[in-house]
Amino acid sequence: MTYDITIEGKAYRLELNRTGEGWLCRLNGRAVDIDAVLARRDVLSVILDGKAYEVKRERTPTDMHLWVGSVRYSAQVRDPRSLRSRTGADGAHGPRKLIAPMPGKIVRVLVKENSEVDAGQGLLVVEAMKMQNEIKSPKKGVVRKIIPAAGASVSAGDVLAVVE
């Protein structure tokens, strides 16, 4: 299997194949000697050149992070053969959906549908844990849709608006 992996914006090509005893692993073409055990869901023990690492996987509705020890790395995995793989979700073209980063209550809707907005302009205000947070537009464009009304409760991952 070959994966295109991005860690903190840096691209890696990983070839990973099981052998009888372990793994054949090449990172950017270089052979790496690894041993790995999935300790439990989302927790991996990796031994690399005799050094032991505990790697935790964390997912939020919007992204994936891997923790090596106490350091967090944002990660994207793409299997070049898979049609289901993630595509460039942060392209500046096409409609973009605004996802609630946390559960909360919509306090205010700051813009009307079909109005023009700038990148970074506040679209809605969500309140959680007694703090109000502005949800900003990911791009310059036109607000095609605002889904929740003021007063509505939203869950993390809910689509709040579409900007085109």
């Binding site: 990973l16 990172l27 790995a36 790697v55 997912r59 995995v77 979700a89 996802i99 959680a128 844990m129």
Partner: protein, 518 residues
Amino acid sequence: MQSIRMTKPAPSMFKKILIANRGEIAVRVIRACRELGIQSVAVYSDVDRASLHVRKADEAYHIGPPAAAESYLNIDRILDAARRSGADAIHPGYGFLSENSRFAHACAAAGIKFIGPTAAAMELMGSKTRARQHLEKANIPFVPGTSRGLTSLEEAVSVAEKIGYPVMLKAAAGGGGKGMRLVHGSDQLASALESAQSEAERAFGDGEVYLEKALINPRHIEMQILADEHGATVYLGERECSIQRRHQKVLEESPSPFVDSDMQCRMGEVAVRVAQAAGYTNAGTIEFLVDQHKNFYFLEMNTRLQVEHPITELTTGLDLVHLQIRIAAGEKLPFTQDDVRLRGHAIECRIYAEDPDNNFLPSPGTITLLLAPSGPGIRRDSGMYEGWTVPIEYDPLLAKLIGYGSDRKQAAARLVRALHEYFVGGIKTNISLFRRILNDEEFQQGRVDTGYLDRLLARTPDQVTDEKSAEVAAIAAGLFAVLDPTSVAQTNGSAGSTSPSAAVASSWKKAGRSEALH
């Protein structure tokens, strides 16, 4: 320590205690009840049905909608739950109704013992002006200064000499920093007084200016007391609480690296005098502001159990919640001041659901992965569990991680080690902030004051990522895709997960759905 050993519970010991709170403190009190053979009653709002305190209690009563005003702050509903359950006492925890004298009154009227001070003592300490008037008679130190306008430069010079520089000149009619001058020495006093007076005159039409000792980035140090209902009051050592963000405590330790045994003794005696002057009973905390010269001034009294009480429990070997319950049941304090021995050092980290990389925005949500630390010298008081969804309605405090050691260095090292083991996935927490603090040189030297955390946060954190770890992350990303592919498929929105059991799985499914919308 022999004399600190508890006598057998009195026959009048409570049979059932209702805990009018939620989260980690409710769990803490439920545990004490179980240890004492007392039945515990939890109360919960709509969003707390699955919370840990409800799972741990012997009985649980629903008290209303998520909004605190309609549940945890609703006196009638809580007393109704107490009556229905047959509880003979209520422990209020901290926050919510814990310092509400109306609630203490209402409990007394309902014939249910409030585990805390009397309503009268609570009212007295709840009003700063009343407390000050009352306590000045008991010779309690307040920030020194003149309480009336200065009439001449000579008077200003002599008062300033008496209380010591730096001093602050303040407009009597003032506000918003107008007419205020910080003065470091007598040579600056004449011009500062003149400009403060003229500025006050212009701003408020009143040039009256008075003088107060300037406390610059003071320390915030508090003293724990316990008082029984038979006249005995003891102090249990101080807690250093200077590390705060927006007046919210973040990390506390006991003893304070700044306080020597003589100062500890003097602070303790003042704290006992405050409590006695107020007719105070049960557990309480006297907060002091402390300047660089180890002068301390009464700030206020907290008439409840504090969030940070575990560090005192570790250094005294006492269980404050057990003692609160025994005192409320009418028992005498089973030890005297001379029996109290402080040993070792304890540091507490308040684990909040907030994002330290994003201006500490709150981060409620579902905890998808929880790896908890343990081992020597580690205590964890927690209200969370894996799979639980942190509600959006309440305080973001999730848990407290406390390190104990024979000295400060060992306690800190154990905490750093435990923080390394601690992992909370799915939501953001401030765990990384504590690594920064504990590894910071200023902290390690004990040089903390109320300005410390802002200074630390103003500095850019050291870059901790390295290429080797990034490579490990890249390899692990691929390994996860091979070894633990289920959740990957779910995240990609393609696997219609039908697992009805796991709340975690369903939250992933939801996440998957939203991702599929991209």
